[in-house]
Symmetry: C2
């Protein structure tokens, strides 16, 4: 849009605007209520010309989204057709990482509702106007929407908690280690987590050979004396099970990673209430590219030191992404209030619950048919938010190869061109692999098609 003042004369703009009227008059004559996509196509007349980046994005990323008669998402029907898809045998399917592109469809269907507009003169300062908030770089609007979404979902206590925003929950994990480790000369504190644990924890913890903390391994076999930090990831990455601390000693300090404690992945059975709870937009709304996470922290001094770490590490967190995250969370909370029969639209969590539910149904069917691999079974529980009983349907499948397949990762990579992460990186053995359940329909469908045949044909 930098060029608009020079490219577009006022007469050009009048012609554009009259064209807009004409389309509106036609629409009214047709009595069209339209859906959000139509409105996007209309309203985006201005944003689209505003930047070549945006235009590229529209051209390259805007899909033709088919809709059912009810106007609900077509994701379900489309992802059912995994056995009818055009298979491309040479294509490598990478399900190593939890890239949450499964959510693109929902945000595409929401159209302009979450379009972010940031003027060039906004957010130049390092500081946020947040009334002397302890976390001086937290955008107040984001703080407000974080509290609201947790109240709507009922998955975490926010009252009397300090909010610390981070560049993803990965930075917040390091901020928590900095805040909770003793800074005297007592040497590094051990950091432990029950295997299978998130494969990045050991790498992040030890990458700088810190004198404050060090990786202590599997919490289940931890024998160390004195203070320690235990990481509790619930639901767990990689296996999806709900967890509690396993080292029950008086000197334990707990960090709860609740990145996956959302109703699309697991029943919300209680309001989490722990000293340090970490969440991230990457896995809650799917906006991994924003790099926004937040910590809910009970103790003021812990929150102050976490803020201090983020100040030293990156002098705060992107204002642009904080403002965008606030807008996305607002739309998520609004959608929960609006969903139901009267609107015929699903809330974000209903939509994403359905997507995960269907993928797990298909994966379990494939496992049952092949008998050569298994996935975990979860007990059904009632979700206070969705008001129904269901089993966990995690963001990752912790898949175990059976009957003579010793190295499951190697088997899937060499025989079926599917990239996964071996169990050995999670403190477990290589008969296991972690598989992302959050990829786009096209990749997930090819994955299903290949494993449905692979275990029957290849061995």
């Amino acid at each position: 849009m930098g060029q608009v003042p020079r490219i577009l004369s006022w007469r050009n703009m009048l012609v554009l605007s009259l064209a807009v009227n004409f389309s509106l008059i036609l629409r009214i004559l047709k009595g069209g209520g339209g859906n959000s996509l139509d409105i996007m196509a209309y309203v985006s007349i201005w944003p689209v010309v505003s930047t070549s980046l945006d235009r590229t994005a529209y051209n390259s990323m805007w899909p033709v989204v088919s809709r059912t008669a009810s106007g609900t998402s077509s994701l379900s029907s489309s992802s059912c057709n995994y056995n009818e898809i055009e298979e491309d045998d040479d294509r490598i399917i990478n399900l190593k990482l939890g890239d949450p592109t499964v959510y693109e469809r929902y945000w595409q269907e929401m159209g302009e509702m979450t379009t972010m507009v940031i003027p060039g003169w906004q957010s130049l300062s390092y500081f946020s106007d947040n009334n002397n908030n302890l976390c001086w770089f937290l955008e107040p609007e984001l703080g407000k929407e974080i509290v609201r979404v947790h109240k709507v979902v009922g998955n975490a206590v926010t009252q009397d908690r300090f909010i610390v925003v981070g560049t993803g929950s990965t930075q917040l994990y390091q901020a928590a280690l900095y805040a909770l480790s003793p800074h005297d000369d007592s040497g590094p504190i051990d950091v432990v987590s029950a295997a299978p644990f998130y494969s990045s924890y050991p790498l992040i913890t030890d990458c700088l050979k810190s004198g404050l903390y060090r990786w202590g391994g599997d919490a289940k076999t931890y024998k160390g004396e004195g203070p320690y930090i235990e990481l509790v990831t619930s639901p767990n990455n990689p296996d999806g099970f709900l967890r509690h601390s396993v080292v029950n000693r008086s000197k334990g300090i707990l960090i709860h990673d609740l990145a996956y404690y959302w109703p699309q992945y697991t029943p919300i059975t209680s309001i989490a209430d722990h000293d340090v709870m970490l969440f991230t937009a990457s896995k809650s709304t799917g906006h991994a590219g924003m790099r926004i996470g937040w910590g809910l922290v009970k103790d003021r001094e812990t929150a102050r030191k976490m803020t201090e770490y983020i100040e030293l590490n990156t002098i705060g967190v992107s204002k642009d992404s904080q403002l965008r995250a606030a807008k996305v969370l607002k739309v998520v909370s609004d959608s929960c209030g609006r969903s139901g029969n009267e609107t015929k639209t699903k809330s974000f969590f209903e939509h994403s619950y359905d997507a995960m539910s269907e993928r797990w149904k298909l994966l379990r069917q494939a496992a049952k048919n092949s008998k050569r691999f298994t996935v975990p079974d979860f007990t059904s529980q009632r979700c206070n938010f969705l008001g129904k009983v269901f089993e966990s349907q995690p963001a990752f499948a912790w898949l175990k190869c059976e009957e003579g397949i010793i190295d499951c990762e190697k088997f899937l990579r060499e025989k079926k061109k599917i990239l996964t992460k071996s169990g050995k990186y999670f403190g477990d053995d290589q008969s296991y692999v972690r598989i992302s359940m959050l990829d786009r329909d096209s990749n997930f469908n090819i994955f299903l098609s290949r494993i449905s045949s692979s275990f029957n044909s290849t061995l």
Copy 2:
């Protein structure tokens, strides 16, 4: 805008749109070419309703920008009036940090040229579509604009360099330490810089008690044997002088922090060509809130390890801010091509050069009048970019109190309610303070007014 489909009927939108036509017709009848602010006010009809955040931003931040007849910035004329301003004796002026809000005025005058529009479904992925770039999370558009702006300004070599994007140059500094430190058992490598050095370097280097590196103090007095890392900040923070490495030993590894090597601060006398060069949007364009920095790195393995650190530390860098930074840098480079008599508009660097030049002229005059404090003198050099000879006009003033003022920071804080950073934090003595020259006109003018009287009246 989340509510638009429900709040605005198609008839409402037609009425809105017809009103827009009417204003356009009136403007055309008046023959108004308008300026970018008028266009902003017009085009922003859609963006403004799109979110309460945007509306708040418009109301609270959109200033009445007076313009000279030529249509150039009014910053000069406005900031001349420091002795006519309404002084508020109780107001504390905080010039401790280099918050670059002086640039707000320019970006306000650019209006919608740098307005960023990001659809809610964009950039969900952790990854950037960057053709297997070594830095896998670098947005290609940002990479392109980084190369372009350095070519336009001529301040750094980009050919055969790897670009590593970071969450500000602070993260890139740590990435460089991670990449350049030995990872064997040889123990932490010393990191040194000539005093006065940036006060955050020691804190960042030692905050995690890393076994890879440790702060080694003033490079001028460094006596250590074996390998070391020397930080060369040029122009230097806090004193603004151009620098070269001072420890001339064979085992030295250099990191060049070139955050201030831009023509508004110092003459661009040569194209910087070093192994590791760090830059940041905060000080080049003033967008500190974006938290975007970049490294130009000669060695592939160093760039790979810097990328590895950022992956471990924050799993990449905000896509939103990268896309916004690309747009801002594009406008900066475009403005350099467009500036001159034929357009009557200043380029970004001409505008910001004028702003800094005037502030330094006023500060030197105040110093001369009072005789109670001094600021550094710089030798004049020819700037290859601006094509004229001038003295450095740094982002910070390294102010020295004279005649019996032992603690300069205490004096300014207690006597004149001006917060500055004491020389003792920069490895120097407390007769010095660092003062930001990048604050808004209103604060800078009050600062000038107070110090012009303070040194004459208070002692």
